[in-house]
Assembly symmetry: D2
């Protein structure tokens, strides 16, 4: 931490700051500039992390130099983490595609989607059984029945299953049916839920919060890893900005940032990231070109009767065309 003293701070102010640093078991370097004195705090990262110095008289501002997360960082582990989900590897050489409807609605709907998804080459079936909806009056999902359908249809088509968990009491329930537990954007800082999925053994797909910084997202993953679960997959799904033409602004530079800062894999959700089915195909291509390890895409056999997010779902035909296109980009990127 760097502490910048105000030009009109007193020697007593400076003394109080130094005493506080020493009382916290830390040491410091002092640098006297033309207008300002600057104190660099040195020592244990956790102790520095707990330090708050802006409330001291004479302190103009403080700047944190190091991040608080550790286990998720590339500094801690230099090599990419590859997560094996019953034989399908995420973060390795192959591009991984998860696809399926926003919500599980019926066996027929799910089978039709799964068939399309499988035949186009995806490895995962996605679908929501518990839906976090803005309004309490919107369709909230089929619950356990939806989980059962996901498992059965996933097995029938040899697809891995990823689905969202919204309640920390449901870890055992969802783990029983799903291969990967998804933590949604609205729960990215539901820390109790993060700890709960951190204590189970299933891989966790951690969506970026609606307005989460890269740093907050990494810290959220640190919650999961600190509880014992090393298998975290990031998922960029668009952030909230002033632009209204798209539902969210898909931040593909986050893919590059996560690759710089962390060893964990990252996939991209162009369906929520844009909210417009017409944009899913070009943004999926762009995500792979930016270096994403995979994609999660909404595919619905009949978007016009979908109970949720029909606006951003691809029809099977468009999804197949997308998968075809991705082969070219993936090959340029040295992926299968």
């Amino acid at each position: 931490m760097i502490i910048v003293m105000s030009p009109n701070s007193t020697p007593e102010n400076l003394e109080s700051v130094k005493q506080k640093i020493e009382r916290s078991g830390l040491s410091y370097h002092q640098s006297v500039g033309e207008n300002r004195t600057i104190i660099g705090v040195i020592g244990d990262k956790k102790k520095i992390g707990a330090l708050e110095m802006n409330c001291f008289d004479g302190v103009e501002k403080t700047v944190r130099i190091t991040e608080k997360y550790k286990l998720v960082s590339r500094e801690f582990k230099a090599d990419n983490t590859v997560i094996d989900v019953r034989g399908v590897k995420i973060g390795g050489e192959s591009l991984v595609v998860m696809a399926g409807p926003c919500s599980v609605e019926s066996r027929e709907q799910l089978r039709e989607a799964a068939e399309a998804v499988k035949s186009a080459g995806a490895q995962f079936l996605r679908g929501g059984a518990f839906k976090p909806r803005t309004s309490p009056y919107d369709f909230q999902g089929l619950g356990e029945e939806g989980l059962q359908l996901l498992r059965e249809v996933g097995d029938e088509f040899d697809l891995r299953v990823v689905t969202e968990i919204v309640d920390l009491n449901d870890v055992d329930l969802v783990s029983k049916y799903a291969d990967v537990l998804q933590v949604g954007a609205r729960n990215m800082q539901n820390f109790r839920l993060l700890l709960a999925v951190g204590r189970c053994q299933k891989p966790v797909l951690l969506k970026r919060g609606l307005s989460a910084t890269i740093s907050e997202w990494l810290n959220a993953a640190e919650y999961v890893m600190s509880a014992g679960n090393d298998n975290v997959i990031f998922c960029e799904r668009g952030i909230r900005t002033y632009e209204t033409y798209t539902r969210n602004t898909l931040d593909l530079s986050a893919v590059v940032a996560i690759k710089e800062l962390s060893h964990l894999p990252i996939i991209v959700d162009p369906s929520h990231g844009t909210g417009r089915w017409q944009m899913v195909q070009p943004m999926a291509r762009a995500a792979v070109a930016a270096g994403a390890d995979g994609l999660i895409i909404e595919v619905h056999p009949h978007p016009e009767v979908a109970l949720s997010d029909g606006d951003q779902s691809l029809k099977p035909k468009n999804f197949a065309s997308l998968m075809e296109e991705l082969k070219g980009i993936a090959s340029v990127m040295g992926r299968k």
Copy 2:
């Protein structure tokens, strides 16, 4: 809902749209403009709420006219709701002030804060026993011990107690000690937690999410009310913007917006809203002048040793001076 057809949509596209509307048990008005045909959907609000039409061929865009929330709206209940917390009324004639440390740290700290807060004229003691922190390595609160201290010290100084709940399994526990349950910004769309506090009888202080729209915030309150709890208090605490000089951007127009759209009371948190203790006093004044029903303010007897958020906590002396100033503003606003 208004459906705007694209200039190059076909008669068949239009026909499909109309059929979907009718199949959904709704009717429509058609309006043919110079370049575009526009369909206005008429009928039951919930059915319209569930409609998704952008996935239909030939649809250029759709615009929602009515909001999905009902119980929280001023349309539903014209008069202001006044919430009675053991004799202290929120949303009525008097300004309500909740104050205390960010985290409960010890009996001494809490007693010192409570004494200052009470003597300056506040009615509520605030303090966190369960802290949602960005990093798993930051101080997470004293837990039940903190709740007990809050209750005991609150009673000693005749202050009502407000504290945050972060786990849906803790409703009974926190209700046992607190007068008002706070749902924090990061949990504003933790819908399971909203339903859980909605099923209990304690008033709920619902903080605005970091980047929640007014509409999403009202829908979050609708979750609580739809579960049976009518006593919801909004709390504006700053939103996330590009500006970095302040920790958040305190959006005081939200106070006016909530008063327009809802009958529920709203208070303001200038401590988190700015993240700088120097700004708390002027922004507290501004909040009251904008029409807020109250304030929640961080006061710490010794911010320089606080375990969290010392940077934005007022010292007792400054808090007393603020309370003095507020009297003048409150009186101009016709409040006590």
Copy 3:
């Protein structure tokens, strides 16, 4: 400037960094922490301002400690600047109110507005003769005819005149008629225009850019002052955020920030800041309570026939009621 070296930087990397600093006529302090070496650059502010170090191998990041602006800063001049506009003082004891229509449309409209504005107690008449509009097909203002009307009607009612300048070739023209030249939000970083108004003697009202940081805004004012014009008045007019209920998000903490960082006066525009006439009154009160030196408000005798911004204009009756209310708040703030 603080330079943070990456944990895996080499001694050669560090050496290159040090050489660059020395070649730039600056010196440094080195601080070796547990994981990272940190270099604090010391010396002339302008030389440090020109330094870019992120492109050096081994540099993890850099942090700027001091701002580049000087003349506008409170560090440079501790006392508040009071700007005298033919006897009306901005930044002094009295609250200053500027009011009038968005656009000058006709003598009748302007006289009616001026009469209302004057009788309610405002000191300035505002009105646009050159309008910067999003679309080329929107009304662009009456041009010089509008300026003439402003001057004549202003003189008739003994009101000072403030109006926007959009073209750097118009400085003499607008100066001939107006008492204060307004630089609009869209031109806040039109640096040639800033230099042009900086070379004239009329006070400048500098609106905050749509998404300008406090720092960028201060630097824009520095352009004006560096060209020789000391009379700059800031105007907060709302920033762009994700919220759509209001046209902009009025950032009243900017008032406090500017007062902390600069000696120049600041006023607030609640009309553009909210875009809703219903919100102008409460947000005007809040602005004054936050410490603003004045207000600029759209008042139109007949908003329903206005050629621009009718949606956010007050009727004379509402404006009079607002001015009445402000007296109470101003008095609490120690202002007349």
Copy 4:
């Protein structure tokens, strides 16, 4: 335009609204829903564009259905516009790359950059002679000397020249030397400058404003086209968001949006869009995969001595490697 009447509006309110519409030379459709009456305004687009109805009593809100721009829209011209810059075509089959230093600093620097840029396969030399800088004390460019250097070095290496214009009085001057005039992000709504470049014959590269919506950007281009210049090239360069890890957030979905809404070409600037040279390569790939017609990239022979934006400039070696990679992506996209 859709006008939503409030549930408690009176018949007189409705009547006033209708009269205003008719007085404006427009007609309407009325649709009576369960809770609200909705008025759809029909008629001439420009007249509707000028209508402001929120100030009428009883109006809850209004929604605009059509955009004000026309000439730039794909509705107006269905086929892609291809702009020919002395034989180099922008918006056609080939990917166009513009590259060079942020600022022109000297003949040596520019020649070295041009040589690298040309040999790697770029068609344009970029470089700033007039630099819009946040602080008046930063390097402002070499002025006309810089323009001369650009022209001479461009001709020497058979590269087209693109450079920024910041002053509306400089149109002739800059046109004399440059092949394409760039309007920078900070001037995107400097409407006088847009009209000035609209009156000249050189193609215009229109950068997206720091927080411009897609709609505002299209309207800015409409200013240029409405003044007679059909040759506008959009340039996405990142928008301002809350994220601080990158300098801006590169919004690649804007590429898709512009392609949907307009016939004009669009290129991407990953250098400013990310502010980090390490991210330029992956984001350039992503831009092409999203469908961009070209790229503009900062290349400096020695970023560590650059007078501006060294932090985001590529070294020639990295640029050559990027150009090599792009071939694969371009080929998948059906481009040369």
